[in-house]
Symmetry: C3
Subunit: 131 residues, 3 copies
């Protein structure tokens, strides 16, 4: 049920974006306890002067390839799960599309189960079939 | 006080967007305990390859008309209120602009009252007049 | 560690955006307990009909210069800190780029420390050096 917002600078071709979005989803399935068909992503390519980030704060060095992944999650995960997910995500994106782990930033926001409707006017995650 | 982010694929004319944004606001007034003049919305039209969603996960079938409504709320609502809001919203948008309920997804994030400033450098919701 | 999303209507030149983004960051350093090199911002310029806001609700009058600042914070701040930050931010942006305090809206969302990875696949804020 997570919602994923991917922000990066303009200039990457569609195959790069495909690989990035696919890799993020695969890492979520592998390490963030997300079902394979639970995929909802938006991709935002910003002009260089619209995405501003310090090159070195608590990591880096960050380059023009910097990617910001914002995840809205529908239930809490343990610290161990989150830590394993960060590792898995960095490794997957380094393999494809070749993102340097220094250029990957992730921020998770956690909500409640009754804060999601997947359609049909239902509080989907409160239905018995999904509890 | 909610802030509403509306995301959908490009290609809808302005009257459709007007009807969509108006209907979302009206449902919030009717069922989410929001004053009529408490309206703050952003609309984001994305290229098809920038808005990725599974057509069937926990609902659907989702079409190219898929609309994602992200709400940042300034205080908690009960589960019953949220469930009634989802029903109301789906019904209103089905009536106008004719959005299929299967194509509507809603995600709510809840914040604290001191996390909002509506202007003038004030923590607005802590002022006696708004408490 | 905050992440800052800045939304406003199209039409402002780059020096205005620079001043706005710089002023927001300086206010966070001065009054929100943020290190000087902890800067991560996205800027979103929207067509007038894509940024909808009531001109008077709990403040205003809001003009076409309206600016919405959404902050995702990595740890809680006290109400006093938030209130001082709103004041500082309004004063700084009024000085430069000349934003009227009535046109400034701020919304903060608070997350947990283990919900941030600043790179290298690490849960950065859990590392001893950053605790």
């Amino acid at each position: 049920m997570p919602l994923v917002r991917i922000s990066l600078c303009r200039g990457k071709p569609l195959p790069y974006l495909d690989s990035l979005a696919d890799g993020i989803h695969q890492a979520m399935v592998e390490a963030f306890d997300v079902p394979p068909d639970d995929r909802f992503q938006t991709i935002h390519q910003l002009a260089t002067d619209k995405l501003r980030y310090d090159p070195h704060y608590l990591g880096g060095p960050r380059s023009a390839d910097f990617v910001l992944v914002e995840i809205t999650a529908g239930r809490p995960r343990s610290t161990a799960t989150k830590a394993a997910f960060y590792r898995c995500l960095a490794a997957r994106l380094q393999a494809s599309p070749g993102l340097r782990p220094a250029d990957l930033m992730v921020v998770i926001t956690t909500t409640e189960r009754d804060e999601w409707s997947f359609g049909h006017g239902l509080a989907t995650l409160l239905q018995p079939a999904n509890s």
